[in-house]
Amino acid sequence: MSNHPIYIDNDPQKATTTLNLGPTHPATHGVFQNILEMDGERIVSGVSTIGYIHRAFEKIAEHRPFYQITPLTDRMNYCSSPINNMGWHMTVEKLLGIKMPKRVDYLRIIVMELSRISDHIICNTIIGQDTGATTPFLYLFQYREHIYEIYEEICGARLTTNIGRIGGFERDFNDIAFAKIRKFLKEFPVALAEFEKLLTRNRIFIDRTANVACVTPEDALSYSWSGVLLRATGVDYDVRVNEPYSSYEDFDFEIPVGTKGDIYDRFNVRNGEMWQSMRIIEQALSKLENEPKGVFHADVPEFYLPPKEQVYNNMEALIYHFKIVMGEIDTPKTEVYHCVEGGNGELGFYLINDGGRTPYRLHFRRPSFINYQMYAPMSRGMLLSDAIINMSSLNIIAGELDA
């Protein structure tokens, strides 16, 4: 898989060294353990151990009503939690057959693309950091803070956003939020261009990343890779295009793909996606002009939690609130699979509903978990320092990996 020559051990006397990397190694950015057999600087074989923050999401989900599962999804991929939140909401809406107004779809797209940008900022700056370039990290992290400020304006939280509700948003975006989004769209391209200038044509960076950890499309498909990693190998599979959700079909954007699937390709695909995300947000903002103002949720009182002041003053709202919270709502007894394009791949929700208060079974198709299993096999024959960059370029989020 790697372009580096694979070391063949000819000397029977020669012993390899066992190196325990992790679970709290500073270079791994998360709790991953890999027990590597090393021959000098080269990895002969490796075994990944995961589960160090296994939190039993799927078991908890069987004990929580639908609207209480949103905070769990936050904590899966905490680098792009709004995508997870929205993915879950859309799964339930698909189950209940709720049709969303276009304006809500566009607002969702704005939030989802912002979180895609923040996810890619983390991953790409960390690749820079691991190749020895700290400056881009400090530059771009400032803009991640700006994205967090937008989230704060929309929902009040920074990281674990719990954004939106089943059936829409809990409140409309205010003017400050829109002003901040516009400001971000104006300022971020400058910073991103500078970021690309610092790394993309940087000799050291190219030497460290290009032709390292190449993956063929066949391998990527066989290992069920998705998202940026799959696209970097040249397969143009993107859920946003293949199975458009939340009105992605109304938008005009490109899917960046790579050719070799090496770290450099992944980096460039992510950068390309950030540019495309900004295009999408701009289109969404202009589309919002034509939509009726003030629509921020679907008109489905039996599923959408009413605002608190109405619960206290309005009989119907109180009844619906009670019914939703106590799980007295009739839901179809069926199963549904819904997937969204998460920050690092196809994020799927497989929900089996028996009509009760809680899901009968909820399974998350977690892209980090599925993408990570190639790590140990592909590290074979790689230099240790390359394996470290390779891990950061896979964009594995421990919370999502371990469920």
Partner: protein, 180 residues
């Protein structure tokens, strides 16, 4: 250029050419402003810690410029994120590897109490296995809250008596956790 602040000297007796104070206070002051934190970041709170370390919040202002990723040289163990039962022995070992004096900051609901993860696989608060000095609530706490927690630790460090770590109460505390 911003104004450079120098830490205020502890209270003491001052005269021309001399300044007298107790050794505890001087050592406390020096320690408090040169803590070497070991970030034990497992999940979401770790991402907020990255924001705390970043340029916007700049954790380094508080004398913690250098993160010590080796427990041997660290003074402050910052546990950020859920500690699963699989992780429990790892955390304990890291604590044992740290040299005295050592402090522990528990950041976030999961580290403090298990948070929303009241499940078979999650440790319900790290204080079940190691003593904790300061708890920072929040899920995740904002960077300001993490900074505040570190300042609280600094207060503790400043005012700690030099003999505390040899006292029978402290030994008893450690014995409660099965630490010799």
């Amino acid at each position: 250029m911003s104004e450079v602040n120098i830490v205020e000297a502890p209270p003491g007796i001052e005269g021309s050419g001399f300044f007298a104070t107790s050794l505890d206070k001087v050592i406390g002051m020096a320690r408090a402003n040169s803590l070497w934190p070991l970030p034990f970041a497992t999940s979401c709170c770790g991402i907020e810690f990255m924001a705390t370390m970043g340029s916007h919040y700049d954790f380094a202002r508080f004398g913690a410029e250098r993160l010590s990723f080796s427990p041997r040289q660290a003074d402050l163990l910052m546990v950020m994120g859920t500690i699963a039962k699989k992780m429990e022995p790892v955390l304990k070992q890291i604590y044992l590897q740290m040299a005295e004096p050592r402090w522990v900051l528990s950041v976030g609901a999961c580290a403090c109490s298990g948070g929303i993860f009241d499940t078979y696989s999650v440790l319900q608060g790290i204080d079940e296995i190691i003593p904790v000095d300061v708890y920072v609530p929040g899920c995740p706490p904002r960077p300001e809250a993490i900074l505040d927690g570190v300042l609280k630790i600094q207060e503790l460090v400043k005012n700690e008596s030099g003999r505390r770590r040899n006292s029978p109460e402290y030994k008893q505390l450690l014995a409660k956790y099965g630490i010799q």
